[in-house]
Symmetry: C2
Subunit: 391 residues, 2 copies
């Protein structure tokens, strides 16, 4: 069966541009080579910046033959890598490819070896490496003079030699692969940066929120615990398909729970840390903290939903909460989640006016407040988590 | 001159994969078409998700001919767009392209027009639109059944018709362009997300820092002003090549300046807001704020340099500052920048124990403290900013 190499190349290039994971991309390519060109096995050595090494991805091929293992990671000082890194060695390449039989022939050319003093060692190392990997063709891929990777090919299943047309196909393919990999690596970098930035944002918010939390001497560690419980409830709500939310909801719960008491920064330490009961005026002051917190964050458009969580985490399901006395479904879900987590943690820690309840007692309180103080579905979820010992 | 279309396609595909700005990519393509194929002009209508419109990018071509302006933005209900959105209309495409002369011929086919009732209106609208844009070929590009864009071609400069080979080239090109654009749009999306996340991080940090700042009644707006001045100094230091820093330095200064007084959260309001002079014990307490601030942020690996800014912003160049009495070059640059900005703002605002200095008086103080309290290069820079009226 004859192959339309031009068409294969174009198809491959089109597929490549849409694959943004280097690993998936390489699997796609080596599988394609092994199946279309019928070689015993194929592999790609790909530079991995994080490891400063070349990593080998292989396809076993139809006959189950494969490049020997133990070469999964290859350092930049490996003979083959050094050979391709030195662009002077390109004169030993056959239009872009190293062919085992040609290297072998060069090593028998005594005139040439005498003329170039280090050549024998260089070519012998390369030949040894190709032997070890059982490959007969190596094609380097460069991006802006940097060796991105090497395409490795075993023998053809038919036992015949590769023809020029096939070599040209592989050389063009290796070039396209280099571009596609570069593209995919850029994607991975960007996605990694997004992840790092997100972590930085969460960590910094956590550090600041925890600090503000610390001003209230009676609630040590409260913010972190409420955040953890809120996240557990939310994950369960999502996994059990009890709520239908977008992909950003869990992150918003995270931020909102971290910041739910941020408004306490606006309340005097003397009130926050008062021993004994608060008078009406002091109680009124303390009850302002959800509104103060929402006002602090209000300019930040992206935090819209998290701000709702902060603002309404003291609303009650029956409409007797504050600041607005919202009722039932009018209370944003994010606030209902934080409200339950907040109450549970408040009940299970010591307060100036009463000792801590046990976990079981707190859950009983939530059960009693189900549909009165608490959102029924959220209350049900924390009760489940408790009965499974996951709280 | 005959063109190797296959080679042009491959070259184009290789270039495309590395261009990650849709606009640049389109300019590259239309310029290539106009120059290589010698058409009067070429254009690409590209779907812009943010606007829910198709935006026209054109190349004037060698003869200065161009698609008339006023069509820069085309709504999805435009006749041409609707024509291509309806996949049933693909039967009027010539192997993937709409050819003006063919449409014209169809409109003269009375038998056909009688058979398909809406056809006359559909084709007439399309013909009118092609006339308006002065194009003779339109090629739609789809990605997963969504119309990504339309490639538009004017007449050939030679006046001849396009041959099949040329049409096939354009059709393949349009397909590759669609993929590359999709790729570029994904890149833009990721980069946009990075920008948004960064802004979110800065804004949230600012909101929290400003709030903590507000606990100290005498320093209203201090954090924001110190941040602005620190940024101005840093930009000048970088632009005047007085410092050699990596690309993240300015962001780190931003965060560090926002958080420089964060440690005050750990100091009692009674000390912070005391009227009159502080006693030794109170002074000692206040001087702990850089260490408290650094301790709050310490777990956050990515903030390493910003934390140094917080920790050492009360060090003095002569080694008589706190908390460690670091001297000269041992003080991190980021701290030296914040130190100067902090002092300048403190001097130019009212304090309980003294009224504000004028800007000029404050700058004179900095000049006097140059090399004693302040880092010489940083001091020099704020003095320059002041004399240029940029402070």
């Amino acid at each position: 069966m004859s192959i339309n190499y031009k068409k294969e190349l174009e198809d491959a290039a089109r597929k490549m541009i849409l694959v943004h994971k280097p690993k998936t991309l390489i699997q796609l390519i080596v599988r394609m080579i092994v199946h279309k060109v019928r070689v015993r096995h194929a592999g790609i050595l790909l530079y991995e910046p994080k490891l400063n090494s070349y990593i080998l991805s292989v396809s076993r091929g139809k006959l189950g033959l494969k490049i020997p293992t133990g070469y999964l990671r290859i350092d930049p000082d490996n003979a083959m890598i050094r050979f391709f890194m030195n662009k002077d060695n390109n004169r030993y390449l056959d239009g872009g490819a190293v062919i085992y039989s040609k290297i072998n022939a060069l090593l028998k050319n005594k005139y040439l070896l005498r003329k170039h003093r280090d050549l024998k060692e260089t070519l012998t190392s390369l030949e040894t490496q190709m032997n070890l990997l059982e490959v007969v063709i190596c094609i380097p891929s460069y991006f802006q003079d940097k060796l991105l990777g090497v395409l490795l090919l075993g023998k053809k299943i038919s036992g015949r030699n590769f023809c020029r047309k096939e070599l040209d196909f592989f050389i063009a393919l290796a070039h396209d692969v280099a571009m596609a990999i570069r593209n995919a690596q850029l994607f991975e970098q960007l996605q990694g940066q997004i992840e790092r930035n997100k972590r930085l944002f969460i960590e910094t918010t956590k550090a600041l929120a925890t600090t503000i939390d610390a001003k209230d001497h009676y609630t040590h560690g409260h913010t972190e615990r409420v955040t953890q419980i809120s996240m557990k409830i939310t994950r369960r709500l999502i996994n059990a398909c009890r709520i239908d939310v977008d992909s950003g909801f869990l992150d918003d719960v995270n931020i909102s729970a971290l910041l739910h008491d941020i408004g306490k920064i606006g309340i005097s330490e003397n009130i926050l840390n008062k021993k004994g009961l608060l008078n009406d005026e002091e109680r009124r002051k303390i009850n302002e903290h959800p509104l103060i917190g929402a006002a602090i964050l209000e300019p930040i458009e992206e935090l819209k939903r998290s701000i709702e969580g902060v603002k309404y985490h003291h609303e009650r399901f029956d409409g007797t909460g504050y600041p607005e006395g919202l009722k039932g479904a009018n209370i944003p879900l994010i606030s209902s989640i934080i409200a339950v987590a907040d109450s549970y943690d408040a009940m299970t820690t010591n307060r100036p006016y009463r000792p801590a309840l046990t976990r079981k007692q707190a859950i009983d309180e939530i059960r009693r407040g189900n549909g009165v103080q608490f959102h029924p579905v959220v209350a049900k979820t924390i009760i489940e988590l408790h009965s499974e010992g996951r709280l």
